[in-house]
Assembly symmetry: C2
Homo-oligomer: 211 residues x 2
Amino acid sequence: MPAGRPIPEASVARLPVYLRALGSLAQRGVATASSEELAQLAGVTAAKLRKDLSYLGSHGTRGVGYDVALLQDRIAGSLGLNREWRVAIVGVGNLGSALAGYAGFSERGFQVVALLDVDSHVVGTRIGELVVDALADLEAVVAEQRVHIGVLAVPAEAAQEVCDRLVAANVRSILNFAPVVLQVAPDVTVRKADLSTELQILAFHADKEKP
Amino acid sequence: MPAGRPIPEASVARLPVYLRALGSLAQRGVATASSEELAQLAGVTAAKLRKDLSYLGSHGTRGVGYDVALLQDRIAGSLGLNREWRVAIVGVGNLGSALAGYAGFSERGFQVVALLDVDSHVVGTRIGELVVDALADLEAVVAEQRVHIGVLAVPAEAAQEVCDRLVAANVRSILNFAPVVLQVAPDVTVRKADLSTELQILAFHADKEKP
DNA sequence: TAGATTGTTAATCGATTAACAATC
DNA sequence: TAGATTGTTAATCGATTAACAATC
């Protein structure tokens, strides 16, 4: 992995978007792209894209552009995608089972290795390749399956407790779909994926348009 | 609605979080809260919270704090939540049907009024109170149901086209679950809710921890 | 009045943009 | 060499933080 100063958080958040843009170019057989072309695909300005990429080191060629395959590899490397990430989904209701069936997980090396639920009617049922484990066994399952990332698809009331148990079981990365702010130690990374927050932000903008 | 300068985008994005914190206080029967208490619940600093709230006008009482019910009302007002928002979900696969069944929608005045899908096996089936309409009828359905917000739960390949049709049908707010950057006119607001992006950001941080 | 806490100002920090020298 | 495009620097902008006067 390239050395250098830390990559700004705002840039990190855009790297996956660049990676996707590169993926679609690669699929179309495009070998080289300029910052202008890439930026267009990614929905950012060319200056911003070049600045972001510069944090990963110097991987373009002046006068030519970026080699698509090479840049894909560099971004994937910076994001830590050259390894397997083992994911547990906690809460196998509507949303949880949709996530369990989501193909996008495996595409980038994220492997769902465990499903957990509190409901005894759901525990033991099969979803895809996996059998749902009991929430009571969370600690054992996380250890056995060497889970790195926890996805919370439980009701709001249960989210903090499940989060605490995941953290105690050494999971340091959590994707939270429950509409609550999780309180965690500073070494734990929580990303929120909160539908109702997003809708409310949309409402704000929509309401300003037609007053 | 209170007049004043525009609310910074970063503040807007936190208002829903404050609203949720206030909701849980209200439910517990708490009538008043200080910026310190609210900030703790929302996972931000007290200074930031006060600054954010100051954009909505002056709704606290020095020496006392904020009236929970009043502040709820003010924030909801600023976000445009004192009206009904009519939502169409396009794409009724795993994710789309999970979203259709998601209770969190209705809680804040977001009413799902239409489900659309391209698959003729799905069209005509009932999900909750709604019957799935054909994607071909998108324009008619959007008009009849007076849809304000479109939720895209279609495959990546279909997302841009559906987006274009929604925009042409006068939908100006789009929540996009598909892993693509949508190209839209500047008067259209797109929020992305992209699972794989979030996982990749988590991977970045996790990878830095254990090198 | 004394204690508490807001609302706001000023200082700091980080992110974006514009411009261009370096260089393929 | 001439044209194109990166990588970086400096200027600008916006967001966060700290501090405190205003005021309940």
